[in-house]
Symmetry: D2
Subunit: 486 residues, 4 copies
């Protein structure tokens, strides 16, 4: 089954987007708008939980925000001034509704909902200990581990129990929690996954990206800092920093591909960073050519940067269908090979006989690159020089990004020259790691204390990988395979 | 909204039916057939869990077995030689899918699925204690309490932990549990709810009623005894009796209305018992009349018994639509009063000018009786003598039967004479409690040690009602209101 | 695929029920109720057309009335004081929505909707002529032929064009037509299919059976006479008799099986007729036995009649599931043979060792009879004497009843003695043709001018069968195979 | 209800796309792919009809091609080597399935299916005449008029009857017809709507745009010429030209907005034409500015052309959500005003303090322009100069394009200066009519015999508008309001 999903199989995939609002009259409608703006961070399922001062209300659905959370009856079923939501893409193939966040539990302190962006790297080990002590998990999500740690903590106040729980987990987490006492937002000490704060009227908002603030008309205040816990309640807003300070390492791939170009991440415009990566590429790897052509849409900003730096004209040499947001399962085996162009079509009149600089954001498996190169050749391109706006992706991510196993990462298997041959490009070049850091405003990557998590490029993981190292796969989850049919 | 549900609002409603099979090649298909035969015990939702030797598989759905569990894809998704299932009607209005049984949990001993018919009378109290100790509940079902008690028991073997859990609960439970080590079936010490055993080939079956054995072609072996735990595994079948012996008190209303007439319950043919109740009614409350007419379909066996005993001809004076199994929401306010006859229509040619003995199984609120009497009058009946094949229903059930609060039970509010006037009958009589026991083959009800649970007639409850007595309603569940949309 | 459809494959099937109302405020809601009461006449699809004085509104749906026409939004979309509707079972396998009646056409005189119960026996021939002259058919329904004949008639008034059209068709038709000028109801000259008139307040109703009048609270006025055209309009009610008078021959099978027992057909109570057939059977074919057992539900009235006449007790020896109204597709090949009892289960305790008189309404293919006899044997019945409340069904119907081809009619292939052996009955007897007429109040069947259409028993068809005789099957419809997906 | 439909309410909307293939093994799968590539020409409904040498097969569905025609079961239900399909957007609000093309009729010559892009300007008048003579229409589509004219033509051969029919209609039509004898493709004498021919292997293809050839891997042969009838059959391919020759006038708006940029229309690359319009705009209406920003996605090619001509940098100042292909109904009244940014979001970091040239393809009502200008102002833009890549749209189209009534066309109500004030632009300019023709390779518009239909800009309609001039609206269609529910 070839599909036309805009975030195709040949990209790394961000797993989640989260959004919470405290103190707005139409809280759940705002969350729906915010999640729609974060839809690129997870297309598989979505959920919203609201709190009306007396009860919690939840709605979860497989599929997109539009079509599920734009219905009046759904929003009316989510009353209250406080709400949070989650969009997800699952890594594990576990697509059951019970895994759709926000997760909810009734603790002795009252209801507790949590939306999580990231991935814990010791969740399995903790889960085994908790089950041994009688805990019953309702999902296969690592997020539920946090809830059980809070539930069984021996501290007295909810905040202390929450901090106690966080101190036992390792990995990446940006969290938005709802309790009757207030909304809690926090980021792991390294700040691997993003989380920002905004304000609209008297209401406070937390969201994965600033575009979600834009869509609801809110003002961007600041990011939640790595290791910071922010609590919004009737008593106002408070900040806690319970962890020992460490040097933050936010995910660099948010800038390369995950975040929307109109977002501000780690203080920088994503569009601007991507243009600067393109300019860097042009400086590091110049080439004589007639046209700069992006692989749409993710390659466009870098292509504009490359064109402006190099003086070679920017042109739409590949046209992307408006309708790729929907999956198109190709009918019939015999026509399966025809379908590449459902998503992308070459602009033949433009390309015929031309020397092309083709810009893409990254190469994962390389399968799409092979098809696009072939399409450009069929359209008559004289030369195609492929330039990639990130370094070679050589390592898996364990912090909430869906990466193929290493054996399937093209750059883990081949040299750049081999890749060029495999893909069929006249030349192939990647931006350098230091070039990428320069586009982000740094002088270079500081060895030893790198400013970002760039493990997918460098293999330099900022935390232990306990589950990877200590838990045998056979010993991992053997949970129920659940199906729910409409 | 008036509906044509065959088990209308003016009946007590059994809440559940359960079915499990161990050792059959097409286990889940057998469960689907068995649940279909038990559909009258719960029309709201159904679920099946199977075990294929390595993993558990589950499917749950709102609605009937037919349409949900007769699909090849669903059955193929439930592989293995072991499976159990559940049909339910909910009492609480909580219709979320997460409450649909069998419930499942991953314990430290492995997967554990449970299907429960009955209701615990101290579940809330136990739940509050468990939550205080860090347990997280995934449903509002009292059944989940049992799972948490097993999970947190300090005994070593699963069987000992299971017995430990059962010793802490009070109320009615017939359970079928699936574990990797075997299938466990048990009944509470009083045997309030039914459970039978059957065999087909090398496979063992447990089911709420014998009709479920008939439908799959299995042989009826015996009932699971009150207080008995039966375990089927690779090591064969074993029986345990961990409870102190008490005098059993199975539910007498299974004979009056819940069970299908072709089932054998407590060793008696339900059809035969109902005919004998009808004969008893004729002896206790004779009347001169031209026709004996049942309220179809539940009044038919008693009406045949009454007719045979009295010599008055049995006639179908009320015709029941074939299509009442489907809910018909009456369109438009203006026609709402017209809809009585969607379900039942008077056979006017037959009734005109006649003296009628009308037989019904029970009176709960009396609302349907009023309409039926009016319909018979409109059809020209000269006299209508209403005879009820059970004693007056004066008390609520707390053991897994949906009863209106006492204030809505007609017999709790009026004398028999007042009821006759209210309903509009020329005369009204109920079978006596001793008459009912006689129809069951007893000489009479033994005061002090009655042979059945007849609390709905007598108010004599066989267990403590801890939650009723000790847990304030306001202090009860404040859980999440969850919605799932297809 | 074995199903539990209450009107199983081993019965003749009425194809349609129709209902129209003129002058009621909630016309379409009344039609929905009326169609629900006629649901037994067609379970495959339903449609309603209303007229609000300016525009026609239509709604059609596959499936039952309940679930489709009990929705407020549907009824609100069918405004006006005039409406008619149709339930259908299709004979041809053509289940496309475009065939769902009432059919509608915009004629030069304005809108024209028609609901038809029956079947024309020269529709194909007429259709070929019409297509040759440029007519474009939108359905495969024979009913559309009538509309084209009206549209292309050269007469001036709509009534004259309608009569002109009817004079060209042959076969069976009870019609309800809606035009801006009034509602037209008519029956073919032989009155093969039924049609009755009723009144509620100022509104007039036409319906296939009187039960549809009962359900809406209307009074039964009279039947529409064979060959009569009744027009209801602002000018009141008028009757026309444009056909040469012939001796009517209404369908006798309406009394045997099609109509509901609480309907009045041709002036007789269906329940009463069926009981008298049962009594006739007992007189014609007595047998010594312990119990009279009906095949539920259709055999019940005849069984009561048999029991009363013979003095042998009537007993429910076979229990019918409440849930057979829903199709249950048996999951898995291996369990397919187990499913007989999904619909009917033997009451073993009652039958064991007994001599049974088993009463069924008719035998078509005999497949169900074989299974039921086997089930009774398995339950321990000592003898089973099968008595059928109709003569042997030996001929196909061409007047709107779904009959298997003759080669599949058991009675067309075997003698009664052979049938008894095939079915496995100790004895088998059918009521005689004259006995059937006697149960209907006649002295006997009048040869030459029989009082009913009994062609399915006698082969004596009351009209030409032009399409059968003159149109080669290969030359018949080659229309579009249309699919509509939800 | 504000939606995020990519072709928003403030654009003219092409109504149809058509695709037919003759002689391919997987004909219907090819049609599905082709229609997906033409999805931008009609998102409301789609249909495919196939011919397997003996029977026609049809499938129609509301909604997109993806999700409806990418299912194996659907394609398997459309067997044969010949198939044609249609995507549509309806103008009239009549969204019933019966209007979804291809329409089909059984003529005396056999089956006849037709897919139509365009609109007849005398369909109503012809329809009234046909109904008066007894024709029964099944749809409200003007296309059906053609079928009835063919059916009732007195000529002998199908081709002669087809030509007879076409000679009686006036307006715009590109047609693909399927008959057992061959596939017929034709274009009206003026060639108002496009139609091209392609080839893959031995199969011939007809399609609205060349992108549909690209997606299936076919070679573009040539366009079907204005007034040409092409017939493909077992006997090969034949061309007929039955009409008196006139000077063609293809729709100029196909180049401005309707066609995909990667299509070749009237011999020109659409992308190239749009870039040249942008360059023309820059020459005709230069302005000092910092950035050229397109309204995505339709304004992008003209913006690139403007940027290259003017030397001002091209930048993505407005980011378009990937998910606007799905309708997002904004939940809750209170947040309705927030939703503009669901579709478009300003790239604030880039725009702040800058002078912007904003490029859009056209202005219809102006509502979207107002919102976008406000969004750019909010983002800090110092100046916004709006440049439109088409002349002012001042007249309705009657040839198959959904245009608002004239009173709602902003350019019909205001001068350009008034429009600039209304929209809030610092300056506003449109490309001139002659400039548009120059971008298409002409020297200028030839008055009297213009090379294109540009009636929406000039009011110079190339045909009579009979229905507009002669048929009173009240006298127009009063057909059935049909609803079909899934």
């Amino acid at each position: 089954m070839i599909t036309t999903n805009p975030f195709d199989d040949d990209k790394l995939r961000e797993e989640c987007g989260i959004f919470g609002i405290w103190g707005a009259e139409t809280a759940s409608a705002m969350v729906a708008l915010g999640l729609h703006a974060l839809q690129h961070r997870g297309q598989e399922a979505a959920g919203i939980v609201s709190w009306d001062g007396r009860a919690f209300h939840a709605h979860r659905a497989m599929g997109h925000v539009a079509g599920n959370f734009d219905r009046d009856d759904v929003i009316r079923g989510l009353p209250g001034n406080v709400a949070c939501g989650h969009v997800r893409y699952s890594t594990t193939g576990e697509t059951a509704l019970r895994n759709v966040q926000p997760l909810f539990a009734e603790l002795s302190s009252g209801g507790f909902a949590v939306a999580h962006n990231g991935n814990l790297s010791n969740a399995m080990k903790l889960r085994r200990e908790l089950v041994r002590r009688g805990a019953i998990f309702q999902s296969t999500s690592d997020t539920e581990t946090i809830i059980h740690l809070v539930a069984t903590s021996t501290y007295r106040t909810l905040l202390d129990r929450f901090i106690d729980a966080l101190k036992r987990v390792e990995g990446a987490y940006s969290l938005i929690c709802m309790t009757p006492e207030g909304m809690i937002a926090c980021r792991d000490p390294l700040g691997i996954r993003p989380l920002v704060m905004g304000r609209i009227g008297d209401a406070y908002i937390f969201a994965s990206e600033t575009v979600a603030l834009d869509v609801v008309g809110a003002t961007f205040l600041r990011q939640v800092e790595p290791g910071e816990i922010v609590i919004v309640s009737e008593q106002g807003i408070k900040s806690h920093r319970p962890f020992a300070p460490v040097s933050p390492r936010p995910c660099i791939f948010e800038h390369v591909y995950f975040s929307r170009p109109d977002s501000i991440v780690d203080g920088s415009s994503v569009y601007g960073v991507r243009k600067r990566i393109g300019a860097q590429l042009a400086m590091e790897n110049p080439v004589e050519a007639d046209l700069v052509v992006p692989v749409p849409d993710s390659g466009v900003p870098a292509a504009i940067g490359y064109a402006q730096q190099s003086g070679i004209p920017f042109e739409l040499g590949i046209i992307r269908s408006h309708y790729v947001g929907r999956t198109f399962i190709q009918p019939g085996d015999q026509v399966r090979h025809l379908g590449v162009k459902l998503k992308h079509n070459a602009n033949k009149e433009l390309l015929d006989g031309k020397r092309i600089v083709l810009i893409d954001d990254s190469i994962v498996r390389g399968t799409t690159s092979v098809k696009i190169l072939q399409m450009l050749r069929d359209a008559g391109a004289a030369e195609v020089h492929l330039r990639i706006a990130s370094p070679p992706t050589r390592h898996s991510c364990f912090y909430g990004v869906d990466t193929p196993e290493r054996a399937k990462l093209l750059a883990a298997q081949m040299t750049v020259a081999e890749m060029a041959t495999y893909i069929g490009a006249d030349s192939l070049a990647f931006v350098s790691v230091d070039g990428l850091y320069r586009a982000l405003g740094e002088d270079m990557r500081e060895e030893g204390t790198p400013q970002y998590c760039d493990a997918c490029f460098t293999g330099d993981y900022p935390t232990h990988l306990t589950d990877q190292d200590e838990v045998a796969p056979a010993d991992q989850l053997s949970l129920l395979a659940e199906r729910v049919v409409a």
